[in-house]
Amino acid sequence: MSDPSAATTPSGAAGARRPLVRLEHVDKHFGALHVLRDVDLTVAEGEVVVVIGPSGSGKSTLCRTINRLETIDSGRITIAGEDLPQEGKALAKLRADVGMVFQSFNLFAHKTVRENVTLGPVKARGVSAEQARKRADELLERVGVANQADKYPAQLSGGQQQRVAIARALAMDPKVMLFDEPTSALDPEMINEVLDVMTGLAKSGMTMIVVTHEMGFARRAADRVVFMADGQIVEDAEPETFFTAPKHERAKDFLSKILTH
């Protein structure tokens, strides 16, 4: 498990790729609760890693430490070889490079769909309004909500909102995209429209860390599946291997539960 990207990526292609996100011996507590225990994880450029595990196992926290929405107690996190900066301008700059998609969408409620997508490029990157708008319209087209650009988030369905949220993150041209259960808050009929966008993104070579229980997506798009339990990474394997022959008891147990649903 020291450098899983080298060993387990299909076709071994990622083995030659540069590590983009690297967590080493990361520990995190919430008060007395030890939520991340000595977590090591390396994600190479262009790799898609699905994180799976029972509720409360620390998946969201793991995701959030990578753009420092949560601080860590000890260990090290680097992105493209650089340590996460402390609070301040440098951190804001780093966050612009790390896209994040939340379970509850979190679109800016007082801004139109297009404004949601242009705000980051204009305010954080200094892109001209004209250019940001052009790019926003392209991205909205790409995620299939171009005709909703002038509406407010509350006027959109959940699936549409989540696709806008993806466009908003993509507008920053991020190096890596984090997804924290992007389809868990959606009605079943909207899940696929979001997963399709994510699959397209994965195929386009985007580096992605995706917390999800959508096994179809994991099989289709992921290079690796990481299984977490009690704040630890218990198993790290190719999707096919993980779903058909999980090694650890916890993983077997978890899979049998979600498979019987």
Partner: protein, 216 residues
């Protein structure tokens, strides 16, 4: 009501002076109160601690003590200004603690996911606050801040008691002590002066509340 009608000019100038105190107090409290609220939610521990200390202290000190400290304590350490300035500053120091808490409670109504999304696209703390959080907090902030400001207009009467001069309180003193008018009708005139201010403020607030409600 004779004393009022006979001295309408005096009352008018007293009203304007009192209005001035209230207006400066309002402006100062809004600005300083908002700055304090930003301190209290900022990521900088020193600023947060200062904000908490300030609010706890000023909210739990009687206004009269704050004003007397300004008017008599501060000059004693060698800082001099007119009673008018001391009065307004004291009023602002006191009221801003309440404005701070009202703004903070409004900010708390904005879901944390909004600020997290803003930070995650690379906005700085001040951009997150100014572009995302405060605009959405506005609707929730207006009513409680309005209440604080209306209370402040009434409190501004106490500033006159310091001896600012020329305000409605001094009009009362002059007409009753120097010119021997009965207290009650004169006080009624003074009360009407303050009513005009508070009722106008309430009406403006109601208007603003309605506009803040549709603006989203």
């Amino acid at each position: 009501m004779d004393p009022v009608l006979e001295n309408l000019g005096l009352f008018a100038s007293g009203f304007l002076r009192s209005l001035g105190i209230a207006a400066w107090g309002l402006l100062g409290s809004l600005v300083w109160g908002t700055v304090l609220a930003v301190f209290r939610i900022s990521p900088v521990p020193v600023l947060r601690a200062f904000g908490t200390f300030y609010v706890t202290w000023l909210r739990n000190t009687p206004l009269a003590i704050v004003l007397f400290t300004m008017a008599f304590g501060i000059p004693a350490v060698g800082i001099n200004a007119s009673y008018y300035v001391f009065g307004v500053v004291g009023l602002v120091l006191y009221t801003s603690a309440f404005v701070c808490e009202a703004v903070r409670s409004g900010v708390a109504t904005v879901p944390t996911g909004q600020a997290e999304a803003a930070r995650s696209i690379g906005l700085t703390f001040s951009q997150t606050l100014g572009l995302i959080v405060l605009p959405q907090a506005l609707r929730a902030v207006v009513p409680p801040v309005g209440n604080v400001l209306i209370a402040m207009i009434k409190n501004s009467a106490v500033v006159g008691a310091l001896g600012v001069g020329g305000d409605l309180f001094s009009v009362y003193n002059r007409l009753t002590s120097a010119q021997g008018y009965a207290a009650l009708p004169v006080l009624t005139g003074v009360a009407i002066g303050f009513l005009v201010m508070t009722l106008t403020a309430s009406a403006l607030l109601a208007l603003f509340e309605r506009r803040a409600a549709v603006a989203r």
